[in-house]
Amino acid sequence: MPNLLLFALLGLGQGALIAAIALGVVVSYRGSGVINLATGAVAMVSGYAFWALTSGFFGVTCPVPVAFAAALAVALVVGLAVEAVVFAPLRHASPLARLAASLGVLLTLQAGVLLIFGNQPQQEPSVLPAGAVPLLGVTIPVDRFLLAAIVGGITVLLAAGYRWTRFGLATRAAAENEQAALLAGLPTQGIATVNAAVAALVAGLLGILAAPIIQVDSTTLPLQVIPALAAALLAGFSSLTIAATAGVLIGVGQSLLYYLATQSWFPTDNGNALPGMSQVLVFGIIVVALFLRGAGLPTRGEVAERRLPAVPASERLARPALLAAAVAATALVVLPYDFRQALTNSLIGAVIVLSYVVITGYLGQISVMQLALSGTAGFLLARLAGGHVPFPFSVLLAATAATALGVAAGVSALRVRGVSLAVLTLAAALAIEQALFLNTSFGGTSGLGVSSPRLFGLDLGPDGPFRGLDGKQPSPVFGLLVLGVAVAAGLYVAHLRRTVLGRQMLAVRANERAAAAAGVNVRGVKVAAFAISSFIASLAGTLYAYNYASVSSVRFTALAALGLIGFAYVGGITTVSGAVIAGLLSTEALVPHALETWFGIKGTWALLFGGVSLVFTLVGNPDGIAGAHHRRKEAAKYAVRTTVPATGETA
């Protein structure tokens, strides 16, 4: 029993951090209507800044108070810069576009930290006093209480400020109805900026104070935004008190889970306590919050809403597909081995992004889970191939099973849409990564071997006998296999746009009510889209498994999924050509490989480039690279057409 108390109180530290990020999320949502996924990343930046200034990383060692002030200033500058450069220009964009932009900020900050500080977690000096207090038979470090008290104080202060000051009233007015607030003469952009500053300061402060407890690193800290989102959802994105309380309690709950995991009755996996339960807990809280609060977030009277990028229907499919396939096939044989590998990676990346084209481009929903489905299919394939299920059947079985999982998730999330769905699937992706892929009975980090695909005695894997012009691995035959899948999937997705189902998806994306009035079964169309997208993602997962001759969890993390969505947006999330571009840009693909080989530019730079270009794509060119090309073509066509009088008006 004392132990239970000990762990509960120890969790106050983690809880305070989650609560602070939750406060930041709610404050920036109320200020500008943005669900800012980068709030945790701001805590990371200030944590690193503080560590660097106190450890002499930049050559100077500052005294703690100076470093503290400087790190807070860094958080403030980052928060204000992001508001000015990213969110202000996107004020009239759709909520989903702004969510994706905040994802771009997260990726940018993370890549920036990786570039400057490397991926080694750092131990930060503590600002708070180090003593401990005895309480009911256990000894608790005093900083846990201080952290909880600080967050509590901030919450009371903020809540009072928003309740009783004129600025608080203006913020609440803008959160209720931005258009009316603007008409009433309130400076809504100014309100958004001040709230962004408050959010950055609160998250940054706890990034400095709480980081000594949980280490500073570039993966854990940014992802603390997920439990924070769970707390914010419970608070309906409006009550600061509920958000902070829920945040602290989630931290306490996670800490208690650590304790329970030491108990003999706790379910185990090969002798160790079942992994990922704390992520499953957060996922469960988000499900409950969405259930309690209804599927929607509080809506704002937005000034305007920009539509999602256009989805052009292609007239001709065969010729461009044949051309691209011929070029890629030649390249697979001719290119040196490293570029051959990078091209194969690009093609697999393109197939995964095709699954996003269906679900996000056509249906208008963001599902972060798709890469987790790839991983599930990959691990299933490894198990099936290990169980001597022969090649094409093992792939089909694995893909079908993972698709079933995707459809089941889709069916249970049918009422959830838009930003809520993105948050829900992000939590699901993290839960699957931690609980399923790290579970050694199913997955594992060390990699699960996968033997090469064989058909009629022919080795189709990367170690096959035919070796291309330079005679080295990987075999171009495997590349051709991947190319075949990519071309088939690409043709199917492009063709889908022209079919009845594709039309129905776009109708649902544009307007669910009107689609139902036109006789479209909205739920059915969503299920169909989830099925198609999940199957494509699962196929890509099996290709990944063969590609590296092993499956490991690192390729299918939630962060990797966020990165892929970023590349998909940059390439053009509504078209097959956009998916191809995204594939070429993605991690370990042709473009980053070429940059690294020829110019010595590391892959992390490519990530930074991905994050930055995601932001600028959303701000300046929401149709992506492929979409911009298509729009220029359309504009030329339209210019010719409008010289003929429009017949609709003449009657």
């Binding site: 199917y492 006789g519 169309v525 017949t647 008006e649």
Partner: protein
């Protein structure tokens, strides 16, 4: 036998009793006007009949009770509707907008069809566009056409479903007098070819000019019904529209 019957349709929004058991019969090819002051429950009636808001009472089309059916099933059975604000599928072309409502295979069949050839353009799409003089807009993106055209495309999209009854929610709002008169002629022509229409609009000239039968709602209940000439002179209707006080309302026989 009446083709469409709404029987004691009842809607409550929280504490507000928005529709108090409204009944309405419509025959095939009949053009029925539904009028009333703001907040009388006209749009709510359309929402209730087409399945967009939970409602008590019964909705019967061609002898089949649709009260328990979701909106898309009612649409497939022949209950089409338009919206006050157009609500086109902005990402599709005008012709594709119509095609969505012209064909609705079950989603499984639609999923199966994605493996086949691209669907042929449906004749009904071109026919409906022609009927409303929209042929020239077929390939325009829906977001790029004018407000008046959007309204007409909304009507054409409802027509493309080959419905038995179309509920039109303020199709003339935002149109000028000429456009409104033109719309009236189109609607009359549609009704004369056998499709029933329920027309909700504030343009009294339009409603009283083209409808066969007019129903007047106030505070969620029917206060008058009959041919336009009759309704035009009904004292209850006059008091509802002119905002007469309780005394003159009592004098009018209520």
């Amino acid at each position: 036998m009446t083709m469409f019957r709404a029987d004691a349709v009842d809607v409550r929004y929280g504490g507000v009793h928005a529709l108090k058991g409204v009944s309405l019969d419509i025959a095939a090819g009949q053009l029925v006007g539904l009028i009333g002051p703001n907040g009388a429950g006209k749009t709510t009636f359309i929402d209730a009949v087409t399945g967009f808001t939970p409602a008590g009472g019964r909705v019967v089309l061609d002898g089949a009770d649709l009260s328990a059916q979701p909106a898309h099933r009612r649409a497939r059975r022949g209950l089409a509707r338009t919206w006050q604000s157009g609500e086109l599928f902005d990402d599709l072309t005008v012709a594709e907008n119509l095609a969505v409502s012209a064909q609705h295979p079950s989603w499984l069949a639609a999923l199966g069809q994605t493996a086949g050839r691209r669907p042929r353009p449906d004749d009904v799409v071109a026919e409906c566009l022609d009927r409303l003089d929209l042929g020239g807009l077929a390939d325009s993106p829906a977001h790029a056409i004018s407000q008046g055209q959007r309204k007409l495309v909304g009507v054409a999209r409802a027509l493309a479903a080959r419905p038995r009854l179309i509920c039109l929610d303020e199709p003339a709002a935002g149109l000028d007098t000429t456009e409104s008169a033109k719309l009236g002629r189109h609607l009359r022509a549609v009704a004369d070819r056998g499709t029933a229409l329920l027309l909700v609009d504030h343009d009294m000239g339009l409603v009283l000019g083209i409808c066969d039968h007019v129903v007047v709602l106030e505070f969620g209940a029917v206060i008058a019904a009959g041919p336009p000439a009759h309704v035009r002179q009904d004292p209850a209707v006059l008091s509802a529209y002119l905002g007469a006080d309780d005394q003159s309302r009592r004098a009018a026989g209520r």
